[in-house]
């Protein structure tokens, strides 16, 4: 091939690469535009302070879903943090422990499983024994999604802490548990918080595992043993409903949820940045 044709081909391929990138970015802008444009119109005082009206009646708001989102997500994050941090510490601080290979396998497998399966699991483990849907079972489902993210982040950041730090502590006569709690974990704080925030961002957007666990509840409750509504659930139910006003509120909830998730991922980035 002569040089002219090769140069021409180079240009064509560069143009195709730019085109492919635009194919990805243009829909993203469309989605963000609609979420903000339609969502802003739906946010008003009632949206934040009232519960939903009966089907077909205009007005009402998302208060039970907003409260439910915080309760369900917070319990999930606590559950996931306890198990995830412990597993991460075990993998990184006790690398010779015989439990580590199966534990790593479990974390890898869990990371690759579809979210809806975690809902099935929480249904079998919590809803069935209790006999009814509950916010707690939703938290368990979300926690199962969050755990592998936290394990991976914790193990990764703990392994970045130089061994010299631990050896310095041990040389000063500190027992191993004080070395981990007072030297290693504080040094790794940024990375651990990043992992927690990433897990929160991931879990907060999930609706599928909550369909048959948290289930939804039009009345305001803070009792995690009762069924609860969350924003993703409400978006789904309202979007597939035939009512115009519910569609409007679904956009409002989508905006609120998107802001919540962006805030969590922003915090994750900031903590990650602070580490360096």
């Amino acid at each position: 091939m002569n040089l002219g044709r090769r140069r021409f081909r180079d240009r064509v391929m560069a143009a195709l690469v730019v085109l492919g990138t635009l194919v990805v970015l243009v829909p993203l802008f469309f989605i963000l535009f609609y979420v903000f444009a339609e969502g802003l119109g739906a946010l008003n005082w009632a949206f934040f302070t009232q519960g939903p009206r009966p089907p077909g009646e205009a007005g009402g708001g998302m208060l039970p879903a907003i409260v439910g989102t915080f309760v369900v997500d917070l319990i999930a994050l606590v559950l996931a943090a306890v198990l995830g941090l412990a597993a991460g510490i075990l993998l990184a601080e006790y690398p010779e422990h015989p439990l580590n290979p199966p534990l790593r396998l479990v974390a890898d497998v869990m990371a690759g499983l579809p979210a809806i399966l975690m809902g099935l699991v929480a249904f079998v483990l919590v809803v069935k024994p209790l006999g009814h849907f509950s916010g707690l079972s939703g938290s368990v489902a979300l926690a199962l999604i969050m755990i592998p993210i936290i394990v991976r982040a914790t193990e990764g950041v703990l392994k970045l802490i130089p061994w010299e730090l631990r050896e310095a502590g041990l040389a000063l006569g500190l027992p191993r548990w004080r070395v981990v709690l007072s030297l290693v974990l504080p040094a790794a704080r940024g990375g651990i918080l990043t992992g927690l925030m990433l897990a929160l961002a991931r879990g907060a957007g999930e609706a599928a595992p909550l369909l048959f666990t948290a289930f939804g509840n039009p009345y305001l409750t803070t009792n995690p043993l009762e069924p609860m509504d969350t924003l993703p659930l409400k978006i789904f139910v309202y979007a597939v409903s035939p009512y115009e006003d519910w569609h409007r509120q679904a956009w409002g909830a989508a905006l609120l949820l998107a802001l919540l998730i962006m805030a969590a991922s922003y915090l994750a980035r900031r903590y990650a940045g602070g580490r360096r």
């Binding site: 690469v17 492919g20 006790y94 907060a204």
Partner: protein, 314 residues
Amino acid sequence: MPRWIYRRLGDRLFAGVVVALGLGLVLLALLIAYELYSGAAPALGRFGFFGFLLGREWDAVRGVFGAWPALLGTLITSALALVLAFFPALAAAIYVVELAPAWLKEPVAYLVDLLAALPSVVYGLWGLFVLVPPLRAHVESPLYLWAAAHAPGVLPLLGPPTGIGLFSATLVLALMIVPYASSLARDALALVPREQREAMYALGATRWEVIRGAVIPYARAGIFSGVVLALARALGETMAVTMLIGNSVELPYSLFGPAATMASLIANEFTEASDDLHLSALVAVGLLLLLIALLTNLVATWILNRMQLEGGRR
């Protein structure tokens, strides 16, 4: 506090708690596997594993459950979405690493990753109210009318142009999995050593020839693992697909017509399932989804290891 409590007991206690929680997680995973299996057992026992897997009928009223339609729906949507997503995802990665001016690299990479942060329901909402109406009016209907006039033979393949169906679900699914394929491809491309590129420039290659001949082959293990990660996402994606696919478990499927995937079937019917066999059949679909997800990850790891061994360039 006496010294031995502080040292011996403290160490034992801390290690004990950490190990107990780790063991708890492993046991939890075993419990999950057992519970899913025992939940699925009634349906699998009734129809047999292969009878359930290949059963072409899913009829809750008559109590006949076969997973084939949902399995087929999952395979079709995931494969089509992967085909649609692959080139844009790779292009976005190449653009960020090779072509973009320095000030654009970060923002473009951030925006592509933002696609992964948006919740599935938001994609569904957008698809339902923004994408579907014009898709129905300007793509599906004209195609259908054209086919009706010129090639009536393909009409059963096209199906009713309602806007809600396999086609819309696949388009949105493709968009959702782009960031997973793209971010791993981007990392792999960025890891290609400078010398690799410069050697080829020194031979007089154009920029595209360098990308094509030196960069992409070097990064292919990473590109491939991104593709598999995207596939795993597509297989299990639930909400957006449930909202857009029309949820019909009736074969045969058509391009524009309604269909169902394993995940959408569970999401759609689980809360309504009243009798035990129906519930058990849905858990069995979940178990099947679990097996497919495991298999995907396993194959990916295996091929990835082989590719890296073969490459052996470092």
